[in-house]
């Protein structure tokens, strides 16, 4: 894995290295043949009078890892939280445009956010395990959502998939707060996938973790994407280069009165974004000229 620090100096060469050599990525089939999971049309989001995103249109494809990258403040978190209606929790939030999940508008009047979040799960930036035991962290969601059959098998399976089982199998009843940061985050991943979502959203899942813990999580993405679709926000370009199949680059646009919002600049296969971006802004960002 690349050992470069956060801010790339000779960025493009190391990223190219990451993209081409290290991931041994297979080229994707053409987009028309990929199954769409999300279809975002003209998404615009504001908090009260402050704009956050404008006119975002893109698609997310099944069983791929899609990365959202861009400088701070470009609305990446806001964007990803639109997918599971988490922004509904913010009173001043308003959204126009549509996000279709397998053709169904998730913002529709008859759509319950509770149902959306069940199918589209989320892992957050800072690990947030419940102050319960390790076992109960995973089991609680299952209990509430009615997946009570074979509880212990389900818990074990989720913890195994999150590459945590071996480390905690002997202390399932101990408090989750006693785990290290990386372990807690993997527990949160286990908790999310235990309820068998279709999509897993990740908002900078490794930004609070050390490099080794980060590496473990990136490995999870590789292993699990055959079962789930991942959308991951990251401020770390190398990480995007390592894990993502598709990458969307957001940038900050400025208005006349100084307001700022995010816009989708370019969305393509990761390799192309990092080695031969079409837009100059993308090129500036990935080569480290700004951001």
């Amino acid at each position: 894995m690349s050992q470069t620090k956060e801010e790339p100096v000779a960025a493009s060469s190391t990223i190219e290295h990451a993209v081409r050599v290290e991931t041994k990525r297979q080229p994707l089939p053409p987009r028309e043949r990929l199954e769409q999971v999300f279809d975002i049309q003209d998404l615009t989001a504001v908090y009260g009078s402050k704009p956050a995103l404008k006119n975002v249109s893109m698609e997310v494809y099944k069983n791929l890892v899609t990365a959202i990258i861009g400088p701070s403040g470009c609305g990446k978190s806001t964007f990803i939280r639109c997918f599971n209606r988490m922004n509904d929790l913010v009173p001043s939030f308003r959204q126009t445009g549509t996000i279709r999940y397998h053709g169904q508008d998730i913002g529709g009047k008859d759509v319950d956010p509770v149902a959306v979040r069940r199918t589209i799960g989320m892992v957050f930036q800072r690990p947030n395990p419940f102050p319960k035991s390790i076992y109960d962290n995973v089991a609680w969601g299952l209990k509430v959502l009615g997946m009570k059959d074979n509880m212990s098998e389900r818990v074990e399976r989720a913890l195994t998939q999150a590459a945590l089982w071996d480390e905690v199998r002997d202390r399932l009843k101990s408090s989750a707060l006693g785990l290290s940061g990386g372990q807690q985050q993997r527990l949160c991943i286990a908790r999310a996938i235990a309820v068998e979502p279709d999509v897993v959203l990740m908002d900078e899942p490794a930004s609070a973790l050390d490099p080794i813990a980060t590496q473990k999580i990136e490995q999870l993405l590789h292993e699990l994407k055959s079962e789930y679709t991942f959308v991951i926000v990251t401020h770390n370009m190398q990480q995007a280069a390592r894990v993502a199949d598709m990458t969307a680059f957001f940038s900050i646009s400025r208005g006349e009165e100084g307001e700022r919002w995010g816009e989708l600049v370019e969305y393509d296969q990761t390799e192309k974004i990092f080695t031969a971006p079409s837009d100059k802004r993308t090129e500036d960002y990935v080569t480290g000229r700004f951001g």
Binding site: N84, M86, L89, P91, V114, A115, V116, R117, R118, T119, G121, M122, F124, R126, N128, P129, F130, P131, K132, W140, G141, V144, L145, S175, L177, G178, C188, R191, A192, V195
Partner: protein, 322 residues
């Protein structure tokens, strides 16, 4: 001591701590004040014990459960008053707690932005109403209402339970329970509200992100997190109810016996002490009254320490790290 002499300070060699007279005086006086608070509590305890001594030596511990108050034969016991205190306080706690938690949930999770502030202020205003005013309202407004409408209705429907015996004249245990409920509701509600607000947002998001409803999230994350604090709040409310003399004295009637019915008059430790304020015939009677005050003092200290202990234990259980 002149004003801060900066240049003087730089000219003086760095001499470290020099005990100045002013420092000694301030620390001394303040320290004496702090010591004074300890002395005060000790003094209170001592004076109450001293006043109760005659009764303690006469009746001993059996005073606590003896049901009697007979000045003629010099037989005194706190039994019926203790019973009344227990029934009214726990009754009020039972009714007030769910309502208070509901209010706290409303103010922390459900209320639209604009309503939150005013309703919170209103609940705190309820706490600020003096007990004598609540007692006045209880006596002249609530008691007649209960006597004419509620008590008979409850008696006719649930009268087979001895709890709902024959209706009385309005001043009874039930009225006292309602009054106490009103008084302790704000305490439990505002402490619980602060607790619910202190639950980290990321925990709540973690739960909602799994696809749970708001209530499921509250039950699974908010309540467990706030459990200790809410218990402490309940205990503080209970303590308040136990110690309330005036409002209860005004609405509970005056009865020195034990009855199973909520609708009969009754009495509590605190209310009885208040009702005897005009004086008692014999020194033994007075001392017995003070013995009851001693019981109240002991209860209040236990309640206080219990609440603190619960809060400390809950804080520890929140877990290490973080």
């Amino acid at each position: 001591m002149t004003s801060l002499d900066v240049t003087g300070a730089s000219r003086r060699p760095f001499s470290g701590r020099r005990l100045r007279l002013g420092d000694l005086i301030l620390q001394g006086v303040a320290g004496i004040a702090a010591l004074g608070s300890l002395v005060l509590v000790g003094l209170i305890t001592w004076k109450v014990i001293e006043g109760a001594r005659l009764s303690i030596s006469t009746f001993g511990l059996s005073f606590v459960w003896t049901v009697a108050w007979d000045p003629v034969h010099n037989q005194f016991g706190a039994g019926s008053f203790l019973f009344g205190t227990a029934v009214t306080s726990f009754g009020a706690l039972l009714i007030a707690t769910p309502i208070a938690i509901g209010v706290a949930l409303f103010l922390s999770e459900l209320a639209p932005r604009g309503i939150r502030g005013p309703v919170t202020a209103l609940v705190e205003t309820l706490a600020a109403i003096p007990s004598v005013v609540i007692g006045l309202w209880g006596l002249l407004v609530l008691a007649p209402l209960l006597r004419d409408h509620v008590d008979p209705a409850l008696h006719s429907t649930l009268g087979f339970v001895p709890l709902f015996g024959k209706a009385s004249y309005g001043s009874n245990v039930f009225t006292a329970i309602v009054v106490l409920t009103i008084m302790i509701l704000p305490i439990i509600a505002s402490i619980s509200r602060e607790l619910f607000l202190s639950v980290p947002g990321e925990l709540k998001e973690g739960a909602l992100g799994l696809g749970t409803t708001r209530w499921e999230m509250i039950r699974g994350v908010v309540f467990p997190y706030a459990r200790g604090g809410v218990a402490a709040a309940m205990i503080l409310g209970l303590g308040r109810a136990i110690g309330e003399a005036i409002a209860v004295a005004m609405v509970i009637g005056s009865f020195t016996g034990i009855s199973a019915s909520l609708f009969s008059p009754g009495n509590t430790l605190a209310a009885w002490i208040a009702q005897q304020y005009a004086g008692l015939p014999t020194p033994l009677a007075t001392s017995s009254l003070i013995y009851m005050a001693l019981m109240l003092l002991v209860f209040s200290i236990i309640v206080n320490l219990l609440a603190q202990f619960i809060v400390r234990r809950a804080a520890r259980r929140q877990g290490p790290s973080r």
